[in-house]
């Protein structure tokens, strides 16, 4: 194959030439890419008149889009809320479900001198252990995780998603007339599993006769499958639905079409069905973010695990006024929240 050989050699030569010329420009070890400009979606204050502290730079690396009305959005919204009260610069790299790419992004932010780099995905924990060692001056945060791997520059954060799940379950068990409730989940892992386990526990505690069918569709992104899973629940007589993860928009569509009450989590999902969304468990990561930022300012870069829950106001149930929830049901929900907060009600951890 003479033709291809010479072509091969030519392309190889050109590629190496390209490489060589690039190499010549910069031999220093970690020359980072140019500074990312601040994406000031957060309303940042003007620097105060007194010695203005540099705005803290917060970088977020997330596995899905930051406006997915689910996991990634919850963190993005929280960081922005933090920005309303503090002077911070925010940068985000979303949609990084390829773990190695996320690792590259984490390194990128660390190299650029970010103060807090948030690895918003449990699967990022593996590479983060290596990266954190390379940047001892940078504070990292990892979620969902209870484990900070003994590093003093990693904060671990997690969510007691089962709590809100329990509350939703309690309400769902009261709203169902057919005693069949449907759940659409992605994969039985992470905060999705916590939420669903809590939901099932709450529903069964409230109404032992209620049958809760859980369908993990084995995907985070297959919207049509989520939609058909919801329809399968409906065909089985379910008249209340819930679910989690970003493909859940398929299921909410079915709920809206059939006029079936929906319970949401991770973010306020009222926009997905203004008539049918009953309540959403909203994640308020800012509770722990504030603590982390304070600690960083005081010199502690990690070595702690945080949880958001009802007790510390990190979780909140947001109700949809457009639904018209029965006052008694609402009262029982409030009571459940109170009970969980003060410990009288215990949300069983699933197996």
């Amino acid at each position: 194959m003479k033709a291809s050989k010479s072509r091969a050699i030519a392309s190889a030569a050109a590629a190496f030439a390209l490489v060589a010329s690039a190499c010549g420009s910069d031999d220093a070890a970690d020359e980072p890419a140019a500074e990312p400009p601040a994406e000031t979606e957060a309303a940042t204050d003007e620097p105060a008149a007194e010695p203005a502290a540099e705005p803290m730079k917060v970088g977020i690396v997330a596995p899905s889009a930051e406006n997915d009305l689910a996991w990634s959005q919850s963190m993005f919204d929280s960081v922005n809320r933090v920005g309303e009260g503090r002077d911070i610069e925010v940068a985000i790299s979303g949609g990084l479900f390829v773990v190695e790419d996320a690792a590259a992004a984490l390194r990128g932010y660390a190299e650029d001198g970010f103060d807090l780099v948030i690895a918003h995905g449990t699967q990022f924990g593996g590479p983060l252990q290596e990266i954190a060692d390379d940047f001892p001056e940078v504070a990292f945060a990892l979620g969902t995780s209870t484990d900070f791997f003994g590093k003093d520059n990693i904060f671990a954060y997690s969510v007691d998603a089962g709590q809100g799940g329990y509350v939703n379950g309690v309400m769902a068990a009261q709203l169902t007339a057919s005693n069949v409730i449907g759940v659409v989940g992605p994969v039985p892992a992470g905060d999705a599993k916590l939420y669903i386990d809590g939901f099932v526990a709450g529903a069964e505690a409230q109404n032992p006769d209620a049958e809760v069918n859980v369908n993990y569709i084995d995907s985070f992104g297959d919207v049509q499958l989520a939609s058909e899973a919801a329809k399968a629940h409906v065909a089985n007589g379910a008249d209340v639905l819930t679910g989690t993860a970003q493909m859940v928009v398929g299921a909410t569509g079915v709920a809206a079409e059939e006029g079936i009450p929906w319970f949401g989590t991770q973010s306020n999902q009222t926009d997905l069905g203004s008539d049918i969304v009953v309540s959403s468990q909203v994640y308020h990561w800012e509770i722990v973010l504030e603590q982390m930022l304070d600690k960083i300012n005081a010199g502690t870069l990690g070595g702690e695990a945080f949880v958001i829950s009802f007790e510390n106001m990190g979780l909140e149930m947001e109700y949809n006024d457009g639904f018209g929830l029965d006052a008694d049901v609402r009262a029982s929900a409030d009571a459940t929240v109170a009970g969980i907060s003060d410990g009288t009600i215990e949300v069983p951890a699933g197996e």
Partner: protein
């Protein structure tokens, strides 16, 4: 398992299977026409996404699903022109250009969605249309005659495509151009002209498939099609380039998917076994093909650009 074999559950499962099959069917029929004329498009997935986003966005802005479908058709024609240029004029290698289309469609639709919509906003889909009289038939009516418009269109197109390919002059040209383009050329059939039309048809149908999907789930999201385009391509081979074969393949895949979904809902399979069960549609497709095992010829000129100069 007893729960599954109740009539109402079986009816719901079959109906669900038909709904799941529709995007495969529409895209697969289009690809069949294209491949019969000798053109392979591995980028069906990207084209479907473009159709889905177009339909979603137009419906969102105009509140009219019909306009959404029309917009998707226009998008299909445009993509068809693009692909025809790449394939017929530039004579690019068809397998790779397909992957390029896929990547482009995937990224571009996500980008447009992020920029113009952002947080997912539901749209009103097309309602179900109950066919008068037929939908009243107990059970059968629920399975077959209470679907939305794209479903009916998809299945109605099966005999239409069969007729077109086998009984019309145009169909004859398609087949000739796909088997022996040189001979067809000498007989005065415009090879590239015919292929241009089949490419337009194929891309339009792929966009329609995406539109049907978006309107059925009532929303758009990154990678909405989640691999359905590739499955549609596979089904073309399953169906041996015949429209009825593609239909059977789409139904097989869709019904098995629906069955597995129902089993998970009923708790017949759960936990890790559910993942194994989800392999069923893909496995069965292969198994059925092995059993049936007809050796049917691919169109001989498939993927070969036609060059009159030699």
């Amino acid at each position: 398992m007893g729960d599954f074999f109740t009539v109402s559950v079986l009816v719901a499962t079959l109906a669900s299977g038909i709904r799941l099959a529709t995007p495969f069917l529409l895209a697969g029929l289009g690809e069949t026409i294209g491949q019969r004329s000798g053109v392979l498009n591995l980028g069906v997935e990207g084209v479907m996404l473009l159709g889905a986003f177009t339909a979603y966005y137009v419906t969102l802005e105009t509140d009219s699903p019909t306009l959404g479908i029309l917009a998707a058709v226009m998008a299909g024609l445009m993509m068809g022109l693009v692909y025809a240029f790449i394939t017929l004029v530039m004579q690019a290698e068809q397998g790779i250009s397909g992957i390029g289309i896929y990547l482009f469609g995937l990224g571009f639709t996500d980008l447009l969605f992020q920029k113009n919509v952002g947080t997912p906003i539901p749209i009103s889909g097309l309602g179900d249309i109950d066919i008068p009289l037929l939908s009243e038939i107990p059970k059968i009516g629920e399975v077959f005659f209470q679907h939305s418009l794209p479903v009916y269109i998809a299945f109605a197109l099966v005999p239409v495509v069969w007729f077109m390919i086998n009984k019309t002059t145009f169909g004859l040209n398609i087949r000739a151009v796909g088997e022996t383009p040189e001979a067809a050329d000498t007989l005065g059939v415009s090879v590239n002209g015919t292929r241009l039309i089949t490419i337009l048809i194929a891309n339009t149908m792929a966009c329609l498939a995406g539109a049907a999907l978006a309107l059925e789930v009532g929303i758009f999201q990154q990678n909405l099609t989640a691999g359905q385009g590739f499955i549609a391509i596979a089904l073309v081979y399953f169906g041996a380039w015949r429209s009825y074969g593609v239909m059977l393949g789409a139904l097989l895949f869709g019904v098995v998917q629906a069955t597995v979904l129902q089993w998970k809902t009923l708790g017949i399979v759960e936990g890790a076994t559910a993942s194994l069960a989800a392999m069923a549609p893909a496995l069965l497709t292969i198994v059925v093909l092995v059993i049936v095992s007809r050796r049917v010829a691919a169109p001989s000129a498939l993927t070969r650009p036609f060059d009159r100069s030699g």
